[in-house]
Every structure is written in structure tokens, then in C-alpha cells.
């Protein structure tokens, strides 16, 4: 019996080690392969800095847009039941499963001049294709579902009873939302913002279709790889990965402290 138990553990242990190696080895190898001097060079490279800055700016804007229009919608989804709610929740998840280049093509489909929206934007002087506006549009499209789902879960985890109590004590629905619900959902909102930024910053397939220029970091990495090969793309990749890892660790810290509190 003891042997059986060991086999069972052994199998899961071996598979665990395999998976760890599979994920970590390429990342570690990539990070350690470029020489320090090539990394220094990359940091000094204005094109690299510009691309990473644009990535951060556009992702941040996507998160901001998600925050402003996503938060009230998430609250509605968490608190109210209505016909078609499941359909709407499915629609919100759609951008997650659509192949990335298809996202880009879909967005271009509505901003072309042969469509009313595209014509309207053209008359307003707003350019989508090949512009920062286009990049932000794409990143909001792929990032927002993560924000809405995280915040919706946050609202759901707040007992409606707590809001009920606030109402019976004299607070209106709006007062209750700002005094009780929002402070309690703050952590899930932070998690949502970071997940949205992390998803947006890593997008490549959709961006490359809507705006090859101005170049966000993933596009720059691709271009360098295509033009100069693996070795020249690695330093930029390392810089971008560091930005992502920082976001990732902040996310982990926030969501872990949150879980601990729930215990």
C-alpha cells in the first residue's frame, strides 16, 4: 500500500518537475543569453525605449478606459439578474478566445471609410489605422474582459447583506456604493487593472494588423527578429519581459494578500 502511494506521488512530482522546466528553461535561457553590454545598448536605444513607453502608455489607457466604463457595468452584472445576462457575459468573454490577428481585422472592418463609423471618425479627424488611437482601441478590446471579470468577481464576493445593512441605516444606493461597495472592491479593481495592462502589453497579433507603426514593444521585437535574427531581438525581449514580470509580481502580491484575508 505504501508503495502505491509513493508511485502516485512520484507521477505527480515528475510531471510537476517537467512542467517547471518546460516553462522556466526557455525564459531563463533567454534572459541569461544576451550579454550585459547588449542589454545596456538596448536601454540606450531610443527606438526600444520609445516602443516600451508606447506599450506602457497604450496599455495604461486601455486599463483607464476599462476602469471608467467597465466598473459600473461589472456592478450591474454582479447585482442584478435579467434576461439575457448569460448571453452578455458570454459576449464579454469573446475577445479572449478570438485569434489575435482576427481581432485586428475585425476592428479594421468597422473603421474603414466604406462604413458609417469609419466615415464618422474620418470626418472627426480621428485616424485609427497606424495610429496610437488604433493601438489603444485594440488593447482595450483584448484587455477589458479581464478587468470586467475581475471586478465582477470582486463585487460578487461582497455579501449583498452588507449593502442591505447600509441601506437600512439610511444610505441611498449611490451612497452605499461609494462608502461600502467600492472600498471593499478596491483590491479586485487593482487586480483587474493589472491583469488588463498585462494582457494589453503582451498583445502582438492584433496590434500588428491595425498599427505596425508607431511600434509597440512586441512589434519592435518581431521586426528585429525578422530583420536581424534571434540574437538582436533577445535584448529587447528581456527588457519587455522585465516590465511584464514587475506587473506580474505586483499582481501576485495583491491577489495573495487578498486571499489570506479571506481565510
Amino acid at each position: 500500500m505504501k508503495r502505491k502511494k509513493e508511485i502516485f506521488y512520484l507521477v505527480s512530482l515528475i510531471s510537476g518537475i517537467l512542467i517547471m522546466f518546460f516553462i522556466l528553461l526557455p525564459l531563463i535561457k533567454m534572459i541569461t543569453q544576451p550579454s550585459i553590454s547588449s542589454l545596456k545598448e538596448a536601454i540606450k536605444d531610443k527606438e526600444v525605449i520609445k516602443a516600451i513607453s508606447l506599450s506602457l502608455y497604450a496599455s495604461g489607457m486601455a486599463a483607464l478606459i476599462s476602469l471608467i466604463i467597465g466598473t459600473p457595468f461589472a456592478f450591474l452584472l454582479a447585482r442584478k439578474d435579467f434576461i439575457g445576462k448569460r448571453f452578455i457575459e458570454s459576449v464579454i468573454d469573446l475577445p479572449i478566445v478570438i485569434p489575435h490577428p482576427v481581432v485586428g481585422i475585425a476592428i479594421l472592418s468597422v473603421v474603414g471609410k466604406n462604413y458609417w463609423l469609419g466615415e464618422f471618425l474620418y470626418k472627426m479627424g480621428i485616424k485609427v489605422m497606424g495610429s496610437v488611437t488604433g493601438i489603444i482601441t485594440v488593447l482595450t478590446f483584448v484587455g477589458m474582459p479581464f478587468y470586467i471579470n475581475s471586478v465582477k468577481d470582486g463585487f460578487l464576493s461582497i455579501s449583498p447583506r452588507i449593502e442591505n445593512i447600509s441601506r437600512t441605516l439610511g444610505a441611498s444606493m449611490t451612497q452605499t456604493f461609494f462608502r461600502i461597495t467600492l472600498p471593499l472592491a478596491l483590491k479586485s479593481m487593482l487586480v483587474g487593472i493589472i491583469m488588463c495592462i498585462a494582457r494589453a502589453i503582451s498583445e502582438f497579433g492584433a496590434v500588428v494588423i491595425v498599427a505596425y507603426h508607431p511600434m509597440v514593444a512586441p512589434v519592435l521585437i518581431y521586426e528585429r527578429f525578422e530583420a536581424y535574427g534571434l540574437k538582436y531581438s533577445q535584448p529587447v525581449a528581456v527588457l519587455l519581459i522585465i516590465v511584464c514580470l514587475i506587473l506580474f509580481f505586483i499582481l501576485r502580491i495583491i491577489s495573495l494578500t487578498k486571499k489570506e484575508k479571506a481565510l
Binding site: 439578474d81 455579501s159 447583506r161 452588507i162 442591505n164 445593512i165 447600509s166 441601506r167 437600512t168 441605516l169 439610511g170 444610505a171 441611498s172 444606493m173 451612497q175 462608502r179 461600502i180 472600498p183 471593499l184 484575508k261
Partner: protein
């Protein structure tokens, strides 16, 4: 006075039907019933948290049916307390004051009074997560009481407490009710809590009120099979009636003391209303039967006797002392007696 008229609520998979309820000022009213009877739903409807489909709720003669909860001045204390986790105990209690125009002096007075009465002064700076169940309970009470509600709704206030704190909290609830002169409406499914706290009450089942009245009346004169069963009316027999007599199983004739019109019905007797003796009693009790003890169940403070009379089992509660004094054991022949007044015809 709280007056609920023909209140109906329709929720997904659940409904309340034609609830009628009057609660006098200052009353301690208990709402009993099995899980899923709709007790909490009714509380939330009274507080304005759930919109009724039909019916009317009046407080002191004023129709509040479509008033939002923040305008009703009805407090609520949930079973799980529902304290605001991001606020300290003090902030929790003060919360309601923001929304009511109360003078600073008056605020302080109420706060001090509640802090002392409910013994929460030492924990005012703590956060809810660091409180024990009893402390949370007290804070939830203080938070609801500080705005002087006209009605306080209590949703199974004692069920989440350890038995040791339960007795203490029960006493405290009673004191709070007395000193604040607020109408209390408590949901509970613990009979001993209800018996020691409430004056009037109602029994709910499947979204309807089955019986309403004095607690003692509900326990002693259940008007339906369901209520009788729910309140532990353990002797319940199908009978045929003949003049003033109810006949069980064509064998036992029970004197009811009143002429009955129906020909069939149910007869109920509470087990504690049956008196057990070794010799036939000569007393004012009109019903005397000879039987044999079939079983003795030890319930701790009291024992339950199963006594067979003409193949019918009667259940009676006696103290441990009686068991010893009367030397009762399985097979002992005993007499059981009960007053006509102890009989309930359903």
C-alpha cells in the same frame, strides 16, 4: 404598529403568498418555521430590500410599501452579522449617524449608552475580523440601534453562537428590548429561544403563515397538523367524534369537555400535559387510562415515556426524579391522566 396586508412576493423559485401580520408597538414577535419557509425573505421585504408583487406594508398607519429602505428607519441584524469589514467597530456603529440629522451631543449620548449597555467599549478600535461571534453580535445590535429604529428585525440572532454565549446573549437581547422600547421581530427556529424571548409569534411554512398568536397559544393550541408537528406536539391521533367524546382507534374514549360537530378530526396532547401515576388518581382530571411502559428515552434533563394503551402509544415527559420515585421501567403498569382542557382538536 406594523401592519402587513396581503403581501405577496415572487422570486425565482420561491414565493411568499398573502402574508397578513400585525405587530404592536414594543412587542417582541417571533417568526418560526422550517428552513426555506421564507422567514428571511419576509424580513427583507419589511425592510424594503425586496419589492413585493402585491400587498401593503404600513408603519404607524403610514404606507411604506414603496419607500426605499433608507427612508424606513427599520434596523436589521443578520445571522452572519454582516459587519462592514473595512471599518472599525466604532466606525461600524457610527455609520448610520451620517445619514440622520442628529445633534453632536445626542450622538455622543447614544454612543456612550450603547457602548456600555452592550459592553463594547474595549473593542471600539478593533476591526470586525478580530472579533468573536458574541462581540460581532453586539456590534451589529449597536449599529442597528444607534439610529433609534422603529422596528428591529433579527434574523436568527442566536443560532451562530456557542451554547455558552447563547444564554448570555439571550439575556442581553431581552434587556435591550426592554430598555429601548423598540418593536422586535425575530426569526428563529429554536423553540427555547422563542419561548424565553417572545410574547407573540407566527409559524410559517412554504411561504405562508400557518398560525399567528400568543406564543403559548401556538405551542398549546396548534391549529394545523403542520404546526402541531413543528412545535413538538408528540401525541397526535386521528379520531372520530361522538357527542363530547373523541374516539381513538375505536378503542379509547377521550372526554373533550365540549360537543363536537365534525365526525372526524385530529386530537393532540402535549407530552408534558400527561400525568403519570402508579395508582389511579382521584382528581379533577377526567381522562384516566391504564397502560404499560414500552420504552424510556433519556433526554438528559427529562425522560420521554412511551406508554401503550389499547395498542396506542402515548408519549409523556417526566423528570428523572419521577422515574426513580415511581420506579418506572419497561413493562411497568402505570396510569396516565390528562385534563379535558389539555386536549387540542385540530
Amino acid at each position: 404598529m406594523i401592519r402587513i396586508k396581503d403581501l405577496s412576493i415572487q422570486l425565482a423559485g420561491f414565493s411568499l403568498d398573502d402574508i397578513n401580520l400585525n405587530i404592536l408597538d414594543g412587542e417582541f414577535f417571533a417568526l418560526m418555521g422550517p428552513t426555506g419557509a421564507g422567514k428571511t425573505l419576509l424580513l427583507e421585504a419589511i425592510a424594503g430590500l425586496i419589492k413585493p408583487r402585491r400587498g401593503k406594508i404600513e408603519i404607524d398607519g403610514k404606507d411604506v410599501t414603496y419607500l426605499p429602505p433608507e427612508k424606513r428607519k427599520i434596523g436589521i441584524v443578520y445571522q452572519d452579522y454582516a459587519l462592514f469589514p473595512h471599518l472599525t467597530v466604532l466606525e461600524n456603529i457610527r455609520y448610520g449617524l451620517h445619514f440622520h440629522k442628529i445633534k453632536k451631543d445626542e450622538e455622543k449620548k447614544r454612543l456612550n449608552y450603547l457602548a456600555d449597555q452592550l459592553k463594547i467599549r474595549p473593542i471600539l478600535e478593533r476591526y470586525p475580523e478580530n472579533l468573536s461571534g458574541g462581540e460581532k453580535q453586539r456590534v451589529a445590535l449597536a449599529r442597528a440601534l444607534i439610529i433609534n429604529p422603529k422596528l428591529l428585525l433579527l434574523d436568527e440572532p442566536l443560532s451562530a453562537l456557542d451554547p455558552v454565549f447563547r444564554e448570555e446573549m439571550k439575556k442581553e437581547l431581552k434587556e435591550v428590548h426592554k430598555s429601548h422600547k423598540i418593536t422586535f421581530l425575530m426569526v428563529s427556529h429554536d423553540f427555547s429561544d422563542v419561548l424565553s424571548l417572545a410574547g407573540k409569534g407566527a409559524i410559517m411554512n412554504q411561504g405562508r403563515i400557518e398560525q399567528i398568536g400568543d406564543i403559548s397559544e401556538i405551542f398549546q393550541k396548534p391549529i394545523s397538523h403542520f404546526v402541531a408537528d413543528f412545535v413538538g406536539m408528540k401525541n397526535l391521533f386521528k379520531v372520530s367524534f361522538k357527542e363530547t367524546k373523541a374516539i381513538i382507534n375505536d378503542a379509547i374514549e377521550v372526554e373533550t369537555g365540549k360537543t363536537l360537530k365534525n365526525s372526524y378530526g385530529y386530537l393532540a396532547i402535549r407530552p408534558e400535559d400527561i400525568v403519570i401515576s402508579k395508582e389511579k388518581l382521584t382528581s379533577s382530571m377526567r381522562n384516566n387510562f391504564k397502560g404499560v411502559v414500552k420504552n424510556i428515552l433519556n433526554h438528559g434533563f427529562y425522560h420521554e415515556l412511551h406508554i401503550e394503551v389499547e395498542k396506542i402509544i402515548f408519549k409523556a415527559l417526566v423528570t428523572k426524579n419521577s422515574i426513580i420515585e415511581l420506579r418506572l421501567e419497561k413493562g411497568t403498569t402505570v396510569y396516565l391522566s390528562f385534563k379535558a382542557a389539555s386536549i387540542h382538536i385540530l
